[in-house]
């Protein structure tokens, strides 16, 4: 027979005003199994908790129902208190008399009756509660950061400085990301590379950081603290240990006319290349698509030239499996391309460029060495039109969201252009100017007032080419929708920020959720912005939503703090609300029949196969087993299982059945 105590709380007037708590406590004494029932003004207060603890000892209670507020509020409080009094914390349940009863019903007998009913249900549940023990899982104190842009670098440095090992995985040949492509940054106009490259070098030289560039995550198994990550190290066709980065191979490579990704197609590179002079690591890779040797079987000039004989044409991709405790996703974004705009000529006009291309044109290290030359004929553009919200906030383009960074970088672009071409005319078409941020609005005002950039509030409906000019047809909505036609030499589209290529695939590999635009989803939009719904996987930067540099770096440090916090424990403790497949003595072993229909229902891939073997080693049957490290306790498998072989601890069939039977 159970010995259950019921503790009814008045919550001051909150419950007491509508529910007759004294009567409820009296009524509860009649429930079979209840040996102690009292009410008190504030159960959650120190004396309240103490009263419960003393009663547990005095009456040798083996279960407790606290009838007070929502369990979502104080369940941890009372479970801890019950645990301290010597019973298993999971033998304590809460009846929600406040949010679900006293606050929502009028004072009266019906309300008091309901309160008693709610308690009765929980008393029956507690009778079937089992002592549960938190699940402990070990932690591998090595973090993996996926993405080597400014966000990923920051995460890696912060974790490494916290004393933990970090593996930084970057898919391109160098770390640095989009920030290394930028000319100058808003709102300070400091040179992007000047502030980024020292960080890149620091990351490369940090004893706790292992760089894996030109590498991609292929497979992720396991769970928080215990991931097994398989990384594909793509073949650089080069022995990195021997290569000194002298660059002779690059100088001598005969294939020089390849469109350069780093310069957004505005420049050229060779088939063996480093993406940019400050690349980290400063070791070249051979581009298999364009290398003459791989296309024709002849050439190997680089191999002949290399003073250290570092070229390896026979090098293959390598798969490396690593034990990882936590993963931070910092895979960044991509920009919509100009060919997504039929109204602006589908990208066929060379002088209609996107924001990143403008960055390269304006950059001192860019294809024009920072001199303003338009791509088609290299002439200095006299009139430049900048179009903000190109694709953003446009349902027809599938991007209803604001790309956030464009208002600021468009102001910066217009400014940079004016600084380089003093006589030039710069126009900005915009919908709204969203310049919320420290010194941001001042920056935009400076563009308008000091640099005389003409801001026109309106959209551009069409751009076409006529006699070597780009005819920009827009409207000025502040002038009553007056049509505006500008004959421009160059047009810069502030194209929408989109989730990076293959981000959905990566999300599926890591089992994290993503939104309909391919951005990774945070666990809670306000309170858990750097966590994902998958424990042990965190987010930083524009892979979650459009972000600028300061925000990315701040979020990166936040994610790093989460990882360092996680690594401060030897073991992780998890709520034992997990599903379990029953096991019985031979020859039954389990009521599980091994149909594995439950496997598809599990959102966490937590259902594994376990082979039951005879002494001879022969497999007698294959049963389902739930990995308690992966299981989050939703119970979908429990409802799916025909034989009820799976049960959910804390919400078991017996508990729920007992609750139902009291109704």
């Amino acid at each position: 027979m159970s010995r259950i105590g019921v503790f009814t709380c008045h919550c001051g007037e909150n419950i007491g005003a509508t529910v007759d708590c004294v009567k409820v406590a009296e009524m509860c004494k009649d429930i079979p199994g209840v040996v102690h029932s009292v009410e008190y003004k504030y159960m959650c207060s120190d004396p309240g908790q103490r009263q419960m603890q003393e009663a547990i000892k005095e009456h040798q209670l083996d279960g407790v129902v606290v009838a007070a507020c929502s369990p979502r509020m104080h369940e941890p409080t009372f479970r801890r208190a019950a645990g301290d009094a010597g019973i298993n914390p999971y033998m304590c349940e809460m009846a929600n008399l406040r949010e679900h009863c006293s606050w929502v019903h009028e004072k009266g007998d019906a309300t008091t009756q309901k309160a008693a009913d709610l308690i009765r249900v929980l008393v029956e549940k507690v009778k079937h509660n089992e002592p549960l023990h938190p699940i402990k899982v070990p932690v591998t104190r090595t973090a993996m950061v996926i993405g080597g842009g400014v966000g990923g670098i920051q995460v890696a440095l912060d974790i490494a400085n916290g004393g933990h090992k970090v593996v930084l995985v970057e898919k391109s040949p160098s770390i640095g990301g989009h920030m290394s492509q930028l000319s100058e940054t808003f709102p300070t106009l400091d040179c992007s590379q000047c502030i980024l490259t020292p960080r890149m070098v620091e990351a490369a030289q940090h004893p706790n950081i292992t760089l894996m560039t030109y590498s991609e995550v292929e497979k992720v198994d396991g769970f928080i603290g215990n991931f097994k990550v398989t990384v594909r190290k793509k073949a650089r066709k080069l022995d990195e240990k021997l290569c000194t980065g002298c660059g002779l191979c690059i100088q001598k490579c005969p294939n020089k006319k390849i469109s350069d990704e780093f310069n957004e197609g505005l420049g050229t590179r060779t088939a063996i290349y480093v993406p940019f002079p400050q690349a980290v690591p400063n070791k070249p890779v051979i581009d298999l698509q364009n290398c003459t040797y791989y296309k024709t079987g002849k050439c190997k000039v680089c191999e002949k030239m290399c003073p250290t004989n570092a070229i390896r044409f026979d090098q293959e991709d390598e798969l490396v499996t690593l034990d990882i405790g936590a993963i931070v996703l910092a895979t960044g974004f991509k920009l919509m391309k100009t060919d997504a705009f039929p109204e602006y000529g589908y990208g066929k006009h060379k002088d209609i460029i996107d924001g990143m291309q403008f960055e390269r044109l304006a950059s001192a290290s860019g294809p024009t060495s920072g001199v303003m030359k338009r791509p088609s004929d290299g002439k200095e553009p006299e009139t430049v039109v900048f179009i903000a919200c190109s694709g953003s906030r446009d349902r027809a383009k599938g991007v209803p969201y604001c790309s956030k960074i464009c208002c600021m970088y468009t102001a910066k672009h217009a400014m940079l252009y004016k600084h380089k071409v003093h006589s030039g005319k710069a126009y900005v078409f915009y919908m709204d100017i969203r310049a919320a941020g420290k010194d941001y609005d001042e920056f935009v005002r400076r563009a308008i007032e000091e640099d005389e950039v003409k801001y026109i509030r309106g959209r551009v409906s069409k751009i076409y080419e006529e006699d070597g000019k780009l005819i920009v047809m827009g409207a000025d909505t502040l002038m009553g929708g007056e049509p505006v036609v500008i004959k421009a030499d160059m047009v810069v589209l502030a194209t929408a920020v989109q989730s990076n290529d293959r981000s959905e695939e990566l999300a599926q590999t890591l089992h994290v959720s993503y939104d309909s635009y391919g951005f990774f989803a945070e666990a809670h939009p306000k309170l858990r912005p750097v966590e994902t719904n998958t424990a042990g996987i965190f987010l930083a930067g524009a892979c979650q939503a459009p972000r600028d540099i300061p925000e990315t770096v701040a979020q990166a440090s936040g994610a790093a703090a989460k990882v360092v916090g996680l690594f401060s424990n030897d073991e992780l403790t998890r709520e034992p609300i997990v599903a379990v497949v029953n096991r019985q003595a031979a020859p039954v072993y389990s009521t599980c029949v091994g149909c594995f229909l439950c496997q598809g229902a599990c959102p966490y891939q937590a259902i594994e196969q376990e082979e039951i073997k005879a002494r001879s080693g022969e497999v007698i049957m294959t049963l389902a087993r739930i990995n308690p490290g992966l299981c989050q306790g939703c119970g979908t498998c429990v409802a799916t299982c025909r034989t009820k072989a799976i049960d959910l601890q804390g919400f078991s069939n017996e508990q729920i059945y007992a609750e139902l039977m009291t109704l």
């Binding site: 039929p342 109204e343 000529g345 589908y346 027809a396 069409k462 076409y464 080419e465």
Partner: protein, 287 residues
Amino acid sequence: MRIGYYPGCSLLGSSREFDESTRAVLKALDVELVEVADWNCCGASSAHILNHELSIALPARILALAEQAGLTEILAPCAACSNRLLSAQQELEKHPEMLAGIEKAIEMPYKGTVKIVNILEVLDRLKDLIAAKTVEPFAKKVASYYGCLLVRPPRVVNFDRPEDPQSMDRMLRAVGATPVEWPFKTECCGAAFSVTRTDIVAKLSGKLVQDAVKRGADAIVVACPMCHSNLDLRRAEINEYLQQEYAIPAMFITQVVGLALGLDPKALGLHRHMVPVEFAETAGVQS
């Protein structure tokens, strides 16, 4: 192939040549046109401004008649007609609660089973046959002009790329023509102002004519009676506005295909145009 046919008012009046050429070309391609009996006005440019229910009831009656005739598909060559038919069909799909009232108004049941197609879709289906039967390739430079109603609103018509459509260009290439690159494929021609404000038409359509010629086109090809009226019937006003004599002809796509198939120009109604369908050696400008 057997397909329902809804000519609408324009094809009986101002654009008889569109009707004639459509019938001639489809006959040459062994397509049987079954005209919807007792058809009525589609509502065109006015009904939807005056009365929403009327603007749906009118096309719904045409579609219901087609259903009764056992048709599964109906060709409406006029872009305004096909646009109205599609709009009404979708409106009834989205708002089934309107159906009872509409059925009462048209005094017959409406199921919404008839698929509405425009002339470019039909020709596109027959592209291989057309290419095979082409005897006199239309070896001219052409400006393919789609206008607004064929491609807009995209959610309703769901046809081609709304900003830079390609279907007519493909068809023209199939009969030997060379479409010029031009940015005005879907610019406004002035549409229904054809009657009331010819000055606006002159300005808007003038831009089209001027640019087509500038880009070297020998003909402007259209698939909408209103476009054609503005570019052909209003050429005098256009030329007056532009202070230049533009002689570039405006032709229906069916006429171009008909010529390529070797059909008699008269059967295609070419003699009905205000701007003669004649081609100068080089460009369409006669000063």
